[in-house]
Symmetry: D2
Subunit: 230 residues, 4 copies
């Protein structure tokens, strides 16, 4: 299956990221697809993903604060709004359905892999500008889109998760975010941005965030058990 079309920058970044395949075809993802992922691994992931979402919303809020244009500010602010008023409450509800109540969810100890990824993204945003932030946010937003598109229709116990990211609404969001990134690059670096050194650095940001995504899946897969147990 070919890569989904989420714009020019994404096409270049995913090709250049050494761990893109390791991320999008990780054992955790294949476990979701085949329906064979242990429930404990999924629940461990869900709890950490809640912590991740908090910081992810912070990062999008920072993107709104650092936006160059009103259109960028509106796009980033709409994402924050959706995250904190809809997705996070929904996440709380899903976890409750799995027997993890709100108090337990709030008490989650942030795993090192979650710390690494979330702080990398936020620090990229604080120390750099909004392009740094977008490049660091892209692997999550668009990678989940690519995974969702590939897994769509797999069914099984994780069909709910799969359909969220493979569904038309999330796919449209990925195309919008891809267009936002391409527009931001045009606006700042000119349409020939792929040849500006700054772009190579952004490619590095995307690659590092992708590497940290692999660690996040790995944490989901192994975090509930001793990694060296025989």
């Amino acid at each position: 299956m070919s890569a989904p079309d989420y714009g020019r920058a994404f096409a270049l970044w995913r090709t250049a990221a050494p761990d893109w395949q390791a991320y999008t075809h990780h054992g955790f993802v294949e476990g979701l697809r085949r329906g064979e992922l242990p429930r404990a691994a999924f629940l461990h992931y869900l709890r950490q993903d809640y912590v991740f979402l908090i910081h992810f919303a912070r990062a999008w809020a920072l993107a709104a604060a650092k936006a160059d244009t009103l259109a960028e500010m509106q796009a980033a602010s709409a994402t924050v709004h959706a995250l904190v008023h809809h997705e996070m409450p929904l996440h709380v509800q899903i976890c409750a359905g799995e027997g993890i109540n709100a108090a337990a969810l709030e008490a989650t100890l942030e795993a090192p892999e979650t710390l690494a990824y979330t702080r990398y993204v936020l620090e990229a945003g604080y120390s750099g500008d909004s392009l740094d932030l977008m490049a660091a946010l892209a692997p999550c937003v668009l990678g989940y889109g690519e995974i969702g598109a590939r897994l769509a229709g797999s069914g099984g116990p994780y069909a709910g998760w799969i359909d969220t990211y493979g569904g038309a609404e999330y796919q449209a969001l990925c195309r919008d975010v891809g267009a936002l990134i391409d527009g931001a690059l045009d606006h700042r670096l000119g349409t020939d941005w792929a040849r500006v050194p700054r772009f190579a650095r952004l490619t590095g940001r995307f690659a590092t965030a992708t590497r940290l995504e692999v660690g996040f899946w790995q944490m989901g897969l192994l975090g509930h058990e001793d990694p060296c147990a025989t």
Copy 2:
């Protein structure tokens, strides 16, 4: 008329700010109340206020990024959303009604007084934490509330402006923001926060932002004419 009740911190801050009276009873404000403010001054203010709102929305986005709790993040994010999706488009529309089209509005050269105020608030937020940001944002949000409450029912050519800030909706927002600030102080400094040195510094932030509000009115009043003309 007594001060409106927007919470404990506001009551202390407004009393301690040397320029609070100069801000809330400025000639510009009295001109709005009596309906005698020159139209050119109002239009000059409106254009700068548009630039102000852009940075004000950035500052609230930063407050969302730096929030400590989900409730704080939701409150700040709701404010950003309201600003960029409702108030700023409304502002564009009001200006259009006054003969200032969107292109002219976007082309506004930011006045030094606008630069001073907006960057002071944003820098307080970047270099400090969310308490610094709230203390720097409060004079605008809550001062307009106090002015609106005092001017409510004045009628005249500026009744639209007056009723926006004196109206029930804006007054409720002021009480909510006041409660957000008091809650943020309780959460970080304990309920006895007024005796913590940190609070004195926040009082200073509020006082400086108030001083810059006076400059902003002054700019509105004089910006369209030679201040030393006889």
Copy 3:
């Protein structure tokens, strides 16, 4: 007299800044040159300049934090070190010689013009990246160099000030900072950086900071008297 050679970016920026002449040939500067600047104006300036230097040192520290390379970090850190361990103590000493003791200096109320300029620079640095910071810092560093070079040898009561900035040491620093900026642009935007849209935005940063320098001189000149007195 031709402009001093502080590099490629400076040459473009100073030409593009509408207020460069107003800044470098301001009445305050001419007063220094002719030795006719009222002492009260100079002292008012000195006090505000102390407050300015504190924030200026902060901004260079931020530049060190946001540096891309070890060489950039070393250059920025050396500047901070020189500012806080040498120039600021020296400033305290000069003010003491003028009858302003350390306590009075620390108690200086920051003027709106100082607030505007310092927070503009710091906010550019926090919300943008190190290029934004350098473009916003350049008018002060390099403008004082250009003024110093022009005024060198004027003698008079302000010869101390003039010789500091016109002297070989400060002129060498200006060439170093100019080279740092050009190198940072090469590194991030490629050697053809003048054609990248990002550069136009940096030109805008430089122009705004220049405009705020004019305000700073104006504050020095008028801050000690009623601006509308006849």
Copy 4:
């Protein structure tokens, strides 16, 4: 052996951090003490520590940018200066002595454990204020002091490393940093700071950074081999 006296906050923080013993008595540390640490592990650590130092210098530069007083600014700036002009060049030299040339050192791929720790510290500084930064920096500065003090005189192949941190100069620095932290707390939260909720959050920052220190040693120990090899 009792804990070294690096001030009041350190005494409370180290007691409250669940992983303090795991950090200061880690297998890596014991390997240094007994002289049994595999050379490959030490070299792996040295390379990552170089990357760490770059970000550590950034964090101290940010502390200078966010300082409240001139004394704090001077202390932080002196640390940055020492790091980028002395310790980092020294580190390059030590690595060269171990056969890792400057190019190889610069080309080090940052390990996830290094990313997690460095970005946690920097993000604490950007999103919070200078207290957050100090609490996140303290486990490294003061923990190395405590380890150095305990290992002093152990001799063996790692005597150079041990004597650096156990030596009088580094121990004096630890006491200075401890005093800087206590002073910063007094200044912001009052002398009764241990009872302010803000302090509990700082204790959490210290505990998280300590946890990430454990991960950093673990990475040093295992990073050069397969962690699950039998």
